[in-house]
Amino acid sequence: SEMSKDLMPGPYPRTPEERAAAAKKYNMRVEDYQPYPDDGFGYGDYPMLPNKSLHERDPWYQWDQPDMRHNWGQPMHWDFDMYIRNRVDTSPTPVPWHTMRKHFLVFLSTMLIMFGLGEIYPSYRPVGPKQYPFNDLYLEKGGDPNKEPPVVTHYEI
């Protein structure tokens, strides 16, 4: 059988009595209950719970549903399927976010700049220009046999 009409989510609560009734419906205290703002996106009176994933809930507590770390009757987040243990983890990181971002971008940019420098100044075995015998192949290249060939050396001693 379906849930009765007064247990289903309803329209945005406008009066304090409606807010109290909605908080009771969702098993929350009136002080904790905070609906989504009424901007036409269709949230109604569903409570706006903090955007914390299930990773942050105590793993050792005896929850009613251990895999969802959820007790019976506890209000679920609107985006609960995003915050389950296989998806987004919002738990605090050991290192603050801005530090992580800065250090990672520094590492990445250093690597890319150094790779660029490595392309401009590559590493190779020491080589010299090729030295052909017989005065740089003067006769083979069609030089005049009667004239004195120019001396071409690509080395220094």
């Binding site: 987004v88 992580m100 190779y124």
Partner: protein, 604 residues
Amino acid sequence: METALLLNTSMILTLTIILTPILLPLLLKNPQNSPANLTRTVKTAFLTSLVPMTLFMHSGMESIISTWEWKFIMNFKIPISLKMDQYSMMFFPIALFVTWSILQFASWYMASEPYITKFFQYLLMFLIAMLTLTIANNLFLLFIGWEGVGIMSFLLIGWWQGRAEANTAALQAVLYNRIGDIGIILSMAWLASSTNTWEVQQTFTSTQTPMLPLLGLILAAAGKSAQFGLHPWLPAAMEGPTPVSALLHSSTMVVAGIFLLIRTHPMLSNNQTALTMCLCLGSLSTLFAATCAITQNDIKKIIAFSTSSQLGLMMVTIGLNLPQLAFLHISTHAFFKAMLFLCSGSIIHNLNGEQDIRKMGGLQKMLPTTTSCLTIGNLALMGTPFLAGFYSKDLIIESMNTSYLNTWALLLTLLATSFTATYTLRMTLLVQTNFTRMATATPMNENNKAITNPITRLALGSIMAGLLITSFITPTKTPPMTMPTLTKTAAITMTILGIILALELSNMAHTLTQPKQTTFTNFSSLLGFFNPLLHRLTSTNLLNNGQKIASHLIDLSWYKKMGPEGIANLQLMATKTSTTLHSGLIKAYLSSFALSILIILLVY
């Protein structure tokens, strides 16, 4: 004897032997498969696959079989074509040898598992997919194997499916592999449209190959072989059982990406930009993984990062246009990496599930065989002269030092070589030496043939494989023959420097002279901050925006703004302006009536 017939028959026979445990229960009345049965099957297949390998080593014979075509389009041929060349004929015995040892080990490791036969069947299905990938001559069959190993990786990483971290890790593996699949499908599409074939032999062009298919192939290899940028799935894959880590994520599956690049290397060798990209990506991966491995405390994660680092080294070799050397490194790496994982599995089980090296110590006396083989594996990994790793690793470093390449890539690879020695020695010191830090009552017993036989077999392979393979396989490209002494000893020098660094760090840790957390240790132990930054940002944005666009925005726009509310708003605007005319004065109504009659008379 007809060598071609023998070659083809024995290769096909190997594949058939492997398929038997999967197909036979479907045909027989009472399906009976057992772990011992499956281990014996793989051993038989290994012995059968030695025949084509010996044939190749003796006569250099290769063959291509092309059978049954899938006729669904007139102009496009997709045959089942199998290529028995140097790479597939060498890879078959090595993969089968490693798998046989791992299956024998798994019969002890997974003995308390209720679904052990299903586990062995999954491993066998993975092996079939991997061998299909290896022997494929066209990209279609290779892709079938590619997807097969991806799916089996997902199923095997998430083997203990009640564990949320294992499911997350399996999902991570599938998603990162999928991103790589975009690459291979892109290159297949380009090849099908430009060259009208998926056969590897027909993709060779004498002019420079365009960048697009090569980018696709490099993306595919980066995804499958965990290069930097698509690497987080490999350390996370350690959530699976140790036999899975030993088979998939060290010796066979992760080399599939490199194997793809080896198969398509004629396309790559034309394009120098693509080769440089491989080189830079590989060197970045190898250094990043080695940096992360230095501060890890889980023994399996250290070996996983070591795998990632060696994969980067293989990518570097591809970037040097030396596919045969990359394949040599794949072969030698398979032996000692699988052995390292099996040794770690033995240690973990003997310590009743303890994986943290800070809680181990003094195991040299308690588990002599395992730790001796661990030492042999670590020495082979470091590139100790004349063990297996030396023949491939030293050649790679020598070729790097004597070629024309990006200087920073060279420096990164040399640094990664010394870091390899560092984290290896750290693991050895913390696991095997010094006083023991474990719980006092542990079920420590390695006196079981199922543990010692595979490990010692693989240890023998780690020692002999390099020498055997290089003695019998002639290189296709001339290796650098002469170089200065410093260049020749570069690899061993960097390794010794790494060892000195490890000893110095261990000394500093004992005397507590350095602070516990510095910027660099944080960067290293949190894996370069890559995981939290990218995983949290992308998934949050994607899921949030998906929810907002799909349900809120679309609902709001179509059901409200385009429909009732939108029309109502328009009507409201019009009525608000026209309500001012409803004044109720007869004079106004009569004058507007007269005005409209006048206008109609004037117009007509």
